[in-house]
């Protein structure tokens, strides 16, 4: 629907229900804009995010994936965000190894009170993804298959 040919990245944001999804709601009710390229998927906790989801997103053409959870120590389920952090550290270095730039993935802690941080984070992430351009690496791999 957009008219110009500017690169519009596809960005998937996984937000935990207790902190980051609420932070995104607060960004919304405070009218703190960020690009429409970001689409949020609600998960109960950042630890629900299976690396498979992220690989699938890139496979299907996502240009960036961001996982948002509660601040360390503040997880609604006590320790979920620590699991997420460990898992994502491993996944991201593997992605980097197979050619998906580190900047295309991110883990960020956003509390329910941080609407401003949510919006700032998304603005920054979208800008970085725009800088990286379209995610062609995994696309290429798919073609070879």
């Amino acid at each position: 629907m957009s008219v110009n040919n500017e690169f519009r990245p596809k960005i998937v944001a996984f937000c935990c229900n207790w902190c980051s999804y609420a932070g995104a709601d607060l960004a919304g009710s405070s009218r703190l804009a960020y690009p429409a390229d970001v689409k949020i998927i609600r998960v109960p906790c950042s630890c629900r995010v299976n690396p498979m989801f992220i690989l699938r997103a890139f496979e299907k053409g996502a240009d960036g994936v961001i996982i948002c959870g509660c601040h360390p120590g503040d997880c609604h389920y006590s320790t979920g965000n620590y699991y997420a952090r460990r898992r994502m550290t491993l996944l991201f270095s593997m992605l980097d190894y197979i050619g998906v730039e580190k900047g295309r993935t991110r883990v960020e802690w956003v509390s329910a009170a941080e609407g401003v941080k949510f919006s700032d984070t998304m603005n920054d992430f979208v800008a970085k993804i725009k800088g990286l351009g379209e995610n062609v690496r995994l696309g290429d791999l798919r073609c070879k298959n």
Binding site: A22, K39, C45, N50, R56, C70, H76, G80, S111
Partner: protein, 662 residues
């Protein structure tokens, strides 16, 4: 295949102004599984919910997508509507096209495009939804209040009066909190102790209230309705049952030089002490850091003198474990450290004090027995300067970004009381803004100016300069006069910012309650659920939620109590059915899931399975759905993909990913 109905809400103009709702309806109607799509002004209205019921009837819907505000607002509303219309409430998904779309985007094309994609993701998910049934859990009819200040006392009294048992856990040796340290209270100038003490006594005497002073919450487990809490009762070294509170031990104690916490370090106390005369319980504690007996093994005077034989040096800390249905956090506040603000010379001159210290100076039981005098030389001051907003409203890294809210009023109170009692003392207040919203508040401040002649100067102070003659030169701005003024004062009082009690972060972590960047606990909804934490069963009372004065604290304490009573009045709670479940054919019993489960909800059972005709007994993970809270940690840890989370299954989330990336 599901038969899905999609309902797109205008939310008045909140959504419809930036999202072309007709277009969303048009595009979504052709999605697989969608048999009905319509838009309506207000889906949450009765008429809107009726539309869902009609469509369910007429189109035989099996699943519902509502494109509207955040599910945190109305998911419950639409689930109930679905249930009334005869379909399982968990067959409803919400596409958040308001908070996550219309409110943050300006371009109607962009916003509409995004709304369609969010709707598609929700449709894709509902296609894979399955009916779920909540379980039930019991409610322990007992509440815990953490913190024994006015907030905690009031909450406990209100819960107890409604007929429920309630325990107060207080860290210090007595309940009473900050309010017990105040001299007078605004805006009516009641004596603080006179109005607080009866409440303390009432709480102590109430048959439904148990008070644990000198105690701390050590461990919390469980969930709403069924918390288990370990409380550490620190050793007082006094047998509370024998102690008569005669005070002889304190009179004789030779270790007298410990700064008194109650007097904000302005006076001293003995090693065996009760913090103040009206303390409840009136049972002293022994500070082992100061006690000569504990440090050297010699002394033991208090034990010798105690006629009741209550002193027991061998007492040990004790852990009490108790079950609760609800927990109220009322941990209160402290003033910030002024170490980073020494332009005001707080660390350089004893005559620069905080407002809370001034309360002790003005109080008859304080270090100066209520006489207004300089702490350096005991002389009566003639010129007093108050400085407002010390550490409040700061966006640098020294102070707090918020307004502490109480300072304008207590400074007016201090100024007025001083001018009333000592008419020859001049009082100057340097202020940035005077903020006095509240019943009879601005009138109170105006009285300070008009009736008591307090000199209010608009401008902040840059530096307090101690003089060789013992006076303090205050260098400040008079912005209305566009001048820099130098005022010689005998005393300077700093309206120091308040911050949540230091322990609150530890407590919030134990309770898994959300906390903000300033260490205030977060409410479930800033406007509509101000006394509840987003974590079910946790409630907020007093300054732990944000700066408040006494009247506000008492109101909020009552509100928190009502919420607790509402919870305790229920016999059973519905549990969240979105719990984990293992596929017995895929599970290999490796224990990875149990290792990451924070609730110990997973166990293993030898189960007879039929794997494509092969019947054998295998070790299979079993999830106790009463314990499982649905975080999903296990689903990712599972190496064979056997563990899945109902309501947020792998296939459901992948279908959302696919719909978004399409």
């Amino acid at each position: 295949m599901q038969r899905i109905g999609v309902f797109v809400c205008h939310c008045g103009s909140n959504i419809a102004a930036t999202v072309d709702v007709k277009k969303v309806v048009e595009v979504i109607a052709s999605e697989p599984g969608v048999v009905h799509a319509e838009d309506y002004q207000y889906m949450c209205s009765e008429a809107g919910q009726e539309k869902i019921a009609i469509a369910v009837r007429e189109k035989k819907l099996t699943g519902i997508v509502v494109c509207s505000c955040s599910p945190r607002m109305h998911e419950a509303t639409f689930r109930k509507a679905a249930e009334r219309a005869g379909i399982n409430p968990y067959m409803v998904e919400i596409a958040n096209i308001r908070e996550h779309c219309s409110w943050i985007h300006k371009d109607i094309n962009e916003a509409t495009e995004k709304a369609v994609i969010l709707a598609r993701a929700a449709v894709a998910k509902v296609n894979l939804n399955t009916p779920l049934t909540p379980g039930e859990s019991r409610v322990t009819k007992r509440a815990l209040v953490i913190g024994g200040g006015i907030a905690g006392i009031q909450t406990a009294l209100d819960i107890a009066d409604a007929g429920y048992k309630v325990d107060i856990v207080e860290k210090t040796p007595s309940i009473g909190g900050r309010m017990s340290q105040l001299d007078k209270t605004f805006p009516t100038l009641d004596c603080s102790a006179c109005i607080l003490t009866p409440k303390m006594v009432e709480a102590a005497a109430h048959e439904n209230i148990t008070i644990y002073t000198y105690s701390e919450v050590e461990k919390v487990s469980g969930f709403v309705g069924d918390f288990t809490v370990d409380i550490r009762k620190k050793a007082r070294f006094i047998d509370a049952d024998k102690c008569t509170g005669c005070g002889a031990c304190q009179e004789k104690c030779p270790s007298k030089k410990t700064p008194s916490e109650f007097n904000r370090g302005l006076g001293t106390r003995t090693a065996i002490y009760t913090p103040f005369a009206q303390a409840i319980p009136n049972v002293p504690v022994i500070d082992t850091e100061a006690c000569i007996k504990f440090k050297t093994g010699k002394c033991g005077l208090c034990q010798k003198i105690c006629a009741a034989g209550a002193v027991d040096y061998t007492q040990k800390d004790e852990i009490v474990t108790e079950k609760y249905g609800a927990i109220v956090v009322a941990t209160g506040f402290d003033t910030i450290s002024l170490d980073k603000y020494d332009e005001y010379a707080y660390n350089q001159s004893p005559d620069v004090i905080t407002s809370l210290e001034l309360e002790r100076v003005m109080n008859a039981a304080g270090p100066t027995h209520g006489h207004l005098e300089r702490l350096s030389d005991g002389k009566a001051p003639k010129e007093i300067v108050f400085i407002q907003c010390v550490g409040s409203r700061c966006s640098d890294d020294r102070g707090k970004p918020y307004c502490s809210k109480i300072c304008c009023m207590y400074t007016a109170k201090h100024a007025m009381l001083i001018r009333d009692k000592y008419p020859d003392v001049n009082v100057t207040v340097f202020y940035i803004d005077v903020r006095t919203p509240g019943k009879n508040f601005d009138e109170f401040y105006r009285r300070a100016v008009e009736q008591y002649g307090v000199n209010y100067v608009k401008g902040q102070v840059g530096k307090v300069i101690p003089q060789p003659n013992g006076k303090l030169l205050v260098q400040g701005s008079d912005l209305l006069d566009n001048k820099q003024i130098l005022k010689e004062a005998d005393m300077v009082v700093l309206a120091t910012a308040i911050e949540p009690n230091k322990d609150v972060r530890k407590i919030a972590t134990m309770l898994t309650a959300s906390i903000d960047t300033n260490n205030f606990l977060t409410e479930a909804h800033a406007k509509l659920r101000p006394v509840e934490s987003p974590t079910a069963g946790i409630f907020l009372s007093g300054v732990v939620q944000g700066p408040k004065d006494i009247p506000e604290t008492v109101s909020q304490a009552g509100a928190a109590a009502v919420k607790v009573v509402g919870l305790l009045a229920k016999d059973k709670l519905m549990t969240n059915p979105c719990t984990a479940k293992a596929d017995e054919l895929l599970c290999n019993g490796c224990s990875s899931c149990a290792n990451v489960c924070p609730y110990g909800a997973i166990s293993y059972e030898d189960t007879l399975v039929n794997d494509h005709g092969i019947r054998e007994t295998r070790r299979i993970a079993i999830v106790n759905s009463a314990l499982c809270q649905g975080c999903g940690a296990c689903t990712v840890a599972c190496p064979s993909g056997a563990m899945d989370l109902q309501g947020f299954s792998n296939r459901q989330i992948l279908s959302e990913v696919d719909a978004i990336c399409r």
